[in-house]
Assembly symmetry: C2
Homo-oligomer: 261 residues x 2
Amino acid sequence: MIVDSHQHVILPTKNQLTQMDEAGIDRTILFATTVHPEMTNDVEAFKKEMRILNKIISGKRNALDARIKSVNEQVRVIEENPGKFIGFGTVPIGLSQEETSMWIKERVVAYNFIGLGEITLIPGQASKLKSIFAATSEFGNLPLWIHTFAPLTLDDIKAIVDLAKQFINVPVILGHLGGINYLETIEIAKENKNLYLDLSAMFSIIPVSLAIKELPERTLFSSDAPYGDPFLVRKSIERVTNDNHVREQILGGNIAQLLSI
Amino acid sequence: MIVDSHQHVILPTKNQLTQMDEAGIDRTILFATTVHPEMTNDVEAFKKEMRILNKIISGKRNALDARIKSVNEQVRVIEENPGKFIGFGTVPIGLSQEETSMWIKERVVAYNFIGLGEITLIPGQASKLKSIFAATSEFGNLPLWIHTFAPLTLDDIKAIVDLAKQFINVPVILGHLGGINYLETIEIAKENKNLYLDLSAMFSIIPVSLAIKELPERTLFSSDAPYGDPFLVRKSIERVTNDNHVREQILGGNIAQLLSI
């Protein structure tokens, strides 16, 4: 089974399904989104969406009402295509542990989401994730999907890993493989069995190749569509390894095992 | 004619030629390199090369003797494959204008190189490029290929553009399209006719699509091999535009016109 372990909601859904078919993807782990660059009709509107996205990625914006609206949209898409999509639920940063638990109960578990993310941080504020780590422990250790590309630094990644060491039963997917800090991120992941490497947003073929070589049992195919192209990301994996068993692990086996799907 | 406008020397050369054939590349603009990750036999040696590369990219290392050795290697590869490769010459940062001119005369023009790069900067030090801009003006305005991905910031890119505005006849290729600052970089490039956008190190399909849409006459196919995969980069361009004329421009026409090749 080929599983894209990270895509955002793309509208209309038929386009997302067509893109999955073309890349030979059986199932997609679907994440909510408050922006839809794929639905803009001109360059200025598109750039406006991307500027909002940049603010979200750097943790500077994520209004609660927009977040709830995006979850409703995500739930609808999954309900209409239950064989194709499985969801991760969004969770705000900065709530108390009790509030976070309540949120997970009402807005994650109630919707049958099986993980939490995409979690985006302001640099220097990784300690704020502690309530999320603690709360997910109460719900069977839902995996966390955390953005670790720019603007996050290696110090931020290390702070996230410190939390992962305190909560060793909480699986943590290091989204985008640490960005330019991929060398150190791969090394850290090798030493901590609850860390997983996500292959989206790769700016070079080298990190793809190295992650697969170094950690074939915990590296995950992921396109981050609409930002990445699922067809090209799958191809990039197939071009750096000829080993059929490793390909199967990376392209679906690892995430299927992690999520018991 | 399909032209990859940015690859580094890959050894042995037959591997580089095979990769070009597979991607359907007729000619490659070849850049020197002081590291050869493709020649390492194990992961530790590979990571050592990549750590050195990271220091070079951030402007923290570029020993003169290693630089000269890499140029000799580059010259040999081009001489052995004159139909396949054309070179850009390396140039150190921090020399006086007179010393820079002497360097260009003896180590660039004398070798028939037709541009300068890859130029890598320490963040905050773009003003040091002024002697290079001034010196290249004396030699028919050889184009400059400047790394603008991390660790450079938007302020660094703006400082580079300020110099490009002072030397409007010097073509400047913004290597890696400004990295995460691609939105602003594309906008700045549209306003300044001597700026070109380089499509290597793309961490998303969005900047590729946007650059081609916004500036089809000054956007350049480039793989940065061995760091990028020429086959995948070419595919990414072909996947975002069906227009045959635009494809021809991006995949070779624009760089051929710029360099008169």
